[in-house]
């Protein structure tokens, strides 16, 4: 093999190694998946997390969702012909995604304070302190008054039954770096990604009616002549038009029934249980960073100075990035902070650039890309806000004539 041919082979081999190394590091650094995960909206993330806890989410969390509320809600879009996972999103798919997000509209409220008093009147309680109200005999105070739950008046937040939810914290860090040096140049790549999900609800409380009692109240409300219009499907669609737009009245032909049917299913429900919290931490942070540097001296030049010592390969990634517990969310950088390996790579590339300054004939290529996204819903509230509910639903088939 002639020296010139040997150089050709060497150049081709070097290029192949560079390309392969580049994509290997990217794969190990898991840069692309982070970008995909970051696309979800705050609302979608919230709804998904709350739904995973087994209750119907409400976004944004609000104070005035109470037991007895009548809500109209979008259930699902059944006219989906497009796979939502496909990237070429059509208008229909966008609509479906939006419709699936729970955005109920409050239609009315049924006063259920009497039913709540009855439901909680005979439940056992476990007071932490002795109550202050005197007993009927006028001697010792009643223990039960220490956990007073008179919903027709007002109930202290501390007396509302507790509910425990797990604290969720997921953290993933992936880093990869590689370097290559030869007599004619050097190359180094680094890629890293970080994904943090933290969800915590403090002091969760819940109250509600038994489902049977709630259904009876709801049916009575819908049967009453003065309020029966509230329970009609047409009413629900009319008021949900503000949420879903004109599409709420869209129909398509159903091959099975051979008739037209609404594409977006709606329902009217009555809330029978509400979950309240006074503190929310819902943090999601994703970050990805990749950086690379290539330096080469012309391999076919004849009047070059000897090549300087090529930079050593990039060191393996050190310890993961600091946890969010160590870095307060309010002071953390919006891109989630640069992972340590990337910082090391920055130093490495600066070294490369310094060495390049001593070269008379050569070239360098340095690139860097970073991506970060953070969504945060945090707060402590003076009064509790509802984060979700359970409900009994109205069967619209009851509205149809036989």
């Amino acid at each position: 093999m002639t020296p010139a041919r040997g150089r050709w082979v060497g150049v081709a081999f070097l290029a192949a190694v560079l390309v392969a190394g580049f994509f290997t590091v990217r794969h190990l650094g898991r840069v692309a998946p982070v970008n995909a995960l970051a696309e979800a909206s705050v609302e979608a993330n919230w709804n998904k997390t709350i739904a995973n806890l087994g209750i119907t989410p409400i976004f944004p969390p609000e104070e005035d969702l109470v037991v007895g509320d009548i809500l109209a809600a979008v259930v699902r879009d059944v006219d989906i012909q497009v796979n939502p996972d496909v990237q070429d999103v059509t208008v229909d798919t966008k609509m479906a995604r939006r419709a699936l997000v729970s955005r109920p509209v409050k239609l009315a409220h049924v006063d259920v304070s009497k039913e709540l008093d009855e439901a909680y009147g005979n439940l056992p309680v476990f007071p932490a302190t002795i109550g202050t109200a005197p007993s009927t005999a006028g001697t010792a105070p009643l223990l039960r008054s220490g956990v007073a739950r008179i919903f027709s008046d007002a109930v202290l937040l501390s007396n509302v039954p507790r509910a425990a939810f797990p604290r969720l914290k997921i953290q993933g860090v992936d880093n990869a770096a590689a370097g290559l040096s030869a007599g004619q140049g050097s190359a180094s790549y680094g890629a890293g990604s970080q994904e943090i999900e933290e969800f915590e609800l403090s002091d969760v409380r819940t109250y509600g009616l038994p489902s049977v009692v709630a259904l009876k109240v709801f049916q009575k409300f819908c049967a009453a002549p003065e309020t029966s219009d509230v329970c009609l499907e047409a009413t629900a669609r009319k008021h949900l038009e503000q949420v879903a737009g004109d599409e709420i009245n869209r129909k398509f032909i159903n091959v099975q029934t051979q008739d037209y049917q609404y594409a977006i299913e709606v329902q009217i429900v009555m809330v029978y249980r509400v979950y309240l919290t006074s503190s929310i931490v819902d943090l999601r942070r994703t970050a990805a960073n990749q950086k690379g540097g290539l330096m080469a001296w012309w391999p076919f030049g004849s009047s070059q100075e000897p090549a300087p010592i090529a930079p050593a390969p990039v060191a393996p990634p050190p310890a993961p990035a600091p946890t969010p517990a160590a870095v307060p969310a309010s002071t953390a950088p919006s891109n989630g902070g640069a992972p340590d390996p990337v910082l090391a790579l920055n130093n490495r590339l600066a070294d490369v650039e310094r060495k390049l300054a001593t070269v008379k004939s050569g070239g360098t290529l340095v690139y860097e890309s970073s991506y970060g996204k953070e969504s945060s819903l945090e707060g402590k509230f003076e009064r509790p806000v509802a984060i979700g509910y359970r409900s009994v639903k109205r069967d619209f088939a009851l509205d149809k004539t036989p």
């Binding site: 150049v11 840069v31 692309a32 497009v82 229909d92 398509f252 032909i253 012309w298």
Partner: protein, 131 residues
């Protein structure tokens, strides 16, 4: 020698571009379903002729919206499409509808043809103007 230098440089310069192309979601290249908007004026959506046609098209895999009782008085019957990729589907639908209408008694003589529309719309949407 110069060619080799340029080739090597091109490979190196392509790397960041390849990285960007991988990081962004792909916007095209996968099959998608078509949504048909039938305009059946002067007939109504519940007219048996219109309803049977809607069922026929739905059985062929299209998502068929409830027909609207309007009519293209200027352009006449036709299948509107909004992307060049949708032309074969528009032609296919025109043929299906023409065959169906020709089989009616009395047969409908006006033929539907595929028509490219320049207005911006979803490429998967097709407008079927029957009469």
């Amino acid at each position: 020698m110069t060619a080799i230098k340029y080739a090597l440089l091109a490979v190196l310069l392509c790397l960041p571009s390849l990285a960007q192309s991988q990081a962004l979601p792909q916007q095209s290249g996968s099959p998608f379903a078509y949504v048909l908007f039938i305009h059946c004026g002067p007939k109504k959506a519940d007219d048996p002729i219109v309803k049977q046609l809607a069922i026929l098209l739905a059985k062929r895999g299209y998502s068929v919206r409830e027909p609207a009782p309007d009519q293209d008085l200027g352009g006449g019957p036709g299948v509107d499409y909004f992307d060049d990729q949708a032309k074969p589907k528009a032609d296919e639908i025109a043929k299906v509808v023409n065959d169906y209408l020709a089989g009616l008694s009395p047969p409908v003589t006006k033929k539907l043809t595929a028509r490219r529309q320049s207005v911006k719309n979803s490429p998967t949407y097709l407008g079927v103007w029957l009469f």
